[in-house]
Subunit: 203 residues, 2 copies
DNA sequence: CGCTTGCTCGTACACCGTACGTCGTACGCC
DNA sequence: GGCGTACGACGTACGGTGTACGAGCAAGCG
């Protein structure tokens, strides 16, 4: 029994291991597939054991979000602020594409974790060093975040990933819903997008 | 028996009534407080009765999102596109502030409802009439949406609503978490924001 | 040895979404 | 009028969820 657990979980549990496995599970099965019992199963443990490392599922979700923030590249000091911000945005987009469930979790989670704080500190530092006044830096921060989050949110709710899939979807699903006399402009857009081989990887 | 039901629910059910009451319940208690049983209770009906008007909870949520889109002001034809877009953004922000649960639902819901389609059609129409080329209009649409969604997402995750609450929160919760030697810039920002009486109602 | 301390986890509870089937009743038809 | 049918309402039940509680057990220490 003890042996089995060791095989399944490679030595004892820890908050770190619990949270990391939770992220893996969410990546694999979506956030709805993440239940305490299933997570415990994946760790080779009983469901209630998790509660020695995590006070509640809420706290687990907070910690998962923080893991995601850890993956976002911090701005580098040396470069100018524009390319630093661009790199950060690109990195954030990649990370959120890798963990789509994180976007839905951002809402409702109110207290920022340490990685989140470190991230904001670094960004603010970069902007301030570039000469932005305090309030301006805060506004820029907010605005950039708005755009990155919004982008990720929209990207997540698109039902296709590539230009080819778009073409298929458009033909099979969208166009039948769009009587041309009622939605002339959307039809025009759809046609143009398909013709242009639109791929949602622009900025 | 018949009488009781009528008193409680003012004539029979309907998809409309179910969805509207669901929105009200979500406004009042958050999306987590919205369960089929509670919704049925609020309508003076049994839980399973709802399934005659809604195929599943998923469909109910889709319909609720569409109700929210209906509340967002459509751009008016006459005005120039900039103020039209501004009005739309302001309206969207107000609506999403009124129904904060909607933001969390936007993710994961993939097929747009009729009000959503009408909305996008109107926006596209406005931009196209203003002389934007097709692809440009689509990009502008996407970009504006990104910003609005991101803004709402951030606003929703802020744990305070007014400048006063911010001041309280900063003193009680944030500053203790921010050792000045580790987060010099965030401390600076926090101080500046409190001093300036920051209120999250800018754009 | 016994005692404490810290993990683990089985059981139980309240609640969830919803499949299934039963019932009262309204309505078209004779 | 009588009757068959169809439909809306809903009681019950099943398999899931998060988690409170407490029993069990191993390791460290006197």
């Amino acid at each position: 029994m003890r042996k089995q657990r060791q095989v399944a979980s490679d030595a004892g549990l820890s908050k770190q291991r619990v949270v990391v496995e939770a992220v893996r599970l969410a990546d694999r099965e979506g956030v709805d597939g993440l239940s305490m019992r299933r997570l415990a199963g994946a760790l080779g443990a009983g469901a209630m054991s998790l509660y020695h490392y995590v006070a509640s599922k809420e706290e687990l979700l907070d910690a998962m979000i923080d893991v995601v923030f850890e993956e976002i590249e911090l701005p580098i000091e040396e470069t100018d602020w524009q390319s630093a911000m661009r790199r950060r945005a690109v990195s954030a987009r990649q990370v959120l594409a890798r963990h789509p469930w994180a976007i839905g979790l951002l809402e409702s989670r109110t207290s920022p974790g340490p990685a989140n704080l470190r991230h904001h500190e670094a960004v603010t530092a970069c902007l301030r060093r570039a000469g932005f006044p305090v309030l301006m830096a805060t506004h820029a921060n907010w605005l950039l975040d708005s755009y990155v989050y919004g982008f990720a949110l929209q990207a997540a709710s698109l039902p296709f990933d590539t230009a080819d899939e778009l073409a298929d979807m458009a033909e099979d699903v969208y166009l039948p819903q769009l009587p041309p006399d009622e939605f002339p402009y959307l039809n025009e857009s759809a046609a143009a997008l398909v013709a242009a081989g639109y791929d949602p990887a622009e900025e």
